[in-house]
């Protein structure tokens, strides 16, 4: 598959993030790109997915004709319940999220900056979808991973020195996984951990606005 293909990028990012999950982890996946993560959980690893509208133990989408109108995920898509699932109300659901009980949350991003600020919920004068549960998830989860393309459609870095869009949460992002690199945010710095197969460090650095701390040994990730 072509490295510029959207599907390739989606799998590349989803698969890499799946490796961040440990056996027994409890995790929330945002709408869109982050849902890809669920397709790549390593065999032998049990991970339990929450949907913030009120359920733990999200299973795959139902077969056509098997949809239950009362069983959806936070994106409105039909889902199934795995054995061991449970339902709860929104108050308990956000208690789980805000109380720090989730091991990890994966969200999409419009911008992330080197202090770990995330912007992903509005573009002033344009799109006002609302933050939904995103602000709670980014504030509350033990580990916050952003899944996004490295650059926007115009080729500009979505990794910035300082976010220009309204923030979703302040200094909360731990890890960014893009189609080009895996980057950790620590002490207001971006640490390059891995780069996508087929790329050079120079290409990643060029596509990234803030300074990257480059590791001695380069690790590659692929699909």
């Amino acid at each position: 598959m072509d490295r510029n293909d959207r599907k390739y990028k989606r799998i590349l990012i989803g698969k890499r993030i799946a490796r961040e999950l440990n056996d027994g982890d409890w995790c929330n996946l945002g709408i869109g790109l982050p849902t890809e993560v669920a397709n790549h959980i390593p065999e032998g690893t049990s991970v339990f997915f929450q949907t913030e509208n009120g359920m733990m133990g999200v299973g795959p989408a139902p077969a056509e004709g098997q949809e239950d109108k009362d069983l959806i995920n936070a994106g409105g898509g039909f889902i199934t319940a795995l054995p061991g699932a449970c339902y709860f109300d929104s108050c308990i659901s956000f208690g789980i999220i805000r109380g720090g009980h989730l091991d990890m949350t994966v969200l999409g991003g419009l911008q992330v900056d080197e202090r770990g600020n995330l912007a992903n919920w509005m573009i002033p004068g344009k799109m006002v979808p609302g933050m939904g549960g995103a602000m709670d998830l980014v504030t509350g989860a033990k580990k916050v991973v952003v899944a996004m393309e490295h650059c926007d459609k115009k080729g500009n870095s979505k990794l910035l020195k300082s976010c220009t869009l309204p923030l979703t949460a302040k200094e909360k992002v731990n890890l960014i996984v893009t189609d080009m690199a895996v980057i950790e945010i620590r002490d207001n710095k971006m640490y390059l951990l891995e780069i996508a197969e087929g790329l050079t460090v120079e290409e990643v650095v060029k596509a990234t606005e803030p300074e990257l701390v480059i590791p001695k040994e380069i690790i590659y990730f692929g699909i």
Partner: protein, 215 residues
């Protein structure tokens, strides 16, 4: 004990300028029959409290499409064109509330709290105009309760005392909203006799319910 009424009667009790909270998440767990009667009746100038504005032709979105809402407190409106348009035209006033904060604010009202301190929204536009308190060295936003004249909720089943059980993710905000309104109307698929719901399984105790509407 709650009164059993029809959807039309329920809709007619809600008056202009009333605050109405709906349990619904993208139209799942929404009291659609009551919403439909409200649309037919056309009562205007309502204040809407809901997780999301649902879809233009489904859930609470129908009230927005019919221009019955003058202001709203919601966490998400990305699935609804009507509200986006009305918002951009200045026809509707919208307070965007993070979903978890919305739930805590509604719960605070229902549980008699004067407010809660939350980290969600710190450093974002959500903090605008709000007090920031430092507790043991950590900052929190002071968020105030949200109540309403009406909660219009959806459950799967009620007994005649108003004890409720829900269905899967259609539960969502319905239980917490049942605690926070002056009057609570529940739309259910089934009404059973007192004693037919196992006391261990009741999610919303009947004390919170004023009216039951059977679909």
């Amino acid at each position: 004990m709650p009164k059993i009424i029809d959807a039309k009667t329920a809709a007619a009790m809600i008056k202009p300028n009333d605050r109405v909270m709906f349990g619904s998440f993208l139209a799942v767990g929404c009291a659609e029959t009551i919403v439909d009667e409200m649309v037919k009746l056309g009562t205007k100038d309502l204040h809407l409290i809901c997780i999301a504005s649902d879809y233009d032709d489904k859930g609470v979105g129908k009230l927005l499409s019919n221009k019955q809402i003058k202001s709203a407190q919601v966490s998400h409106l990305g699935t609804n064109k009507a509200i986006q348009e009305q918002y951009n035209n200045g026809e509707i006033e919208v307070e965007m509330v993070p979903q978890g904060t919305l739930m805590e604010r509604i719960r605070a009202k229902g549980a008699g709290l004067g407010g809660v301190l939350t980290p969600t929204g710190l450093g974002t536009i959500v903090e605008e105009g709000k007090e920031i308190l430092t507790i043991d060295g950590k900052e929190f936003l002071l968020e105030k309760p949200i109540g309403a004249e009406w909660a219009v909720i959806k459950a799967e089943k009620a007994d005649k005392m108003g004890n409720l059980v829900y269905s899967k993710t259609a539960r969502n905000a319905n239980p917490v909203m049942a605690t926070a309104a002056e009057k609570v109307i529940v739309e259910v698929n089934e009404i059973v006799e007192i004693g037919e719901i196992n006391p261990e399984d009741v999610i919303t105790p009947g004390i919170f319910i004023d009216y039951i509407v059977k679909v």
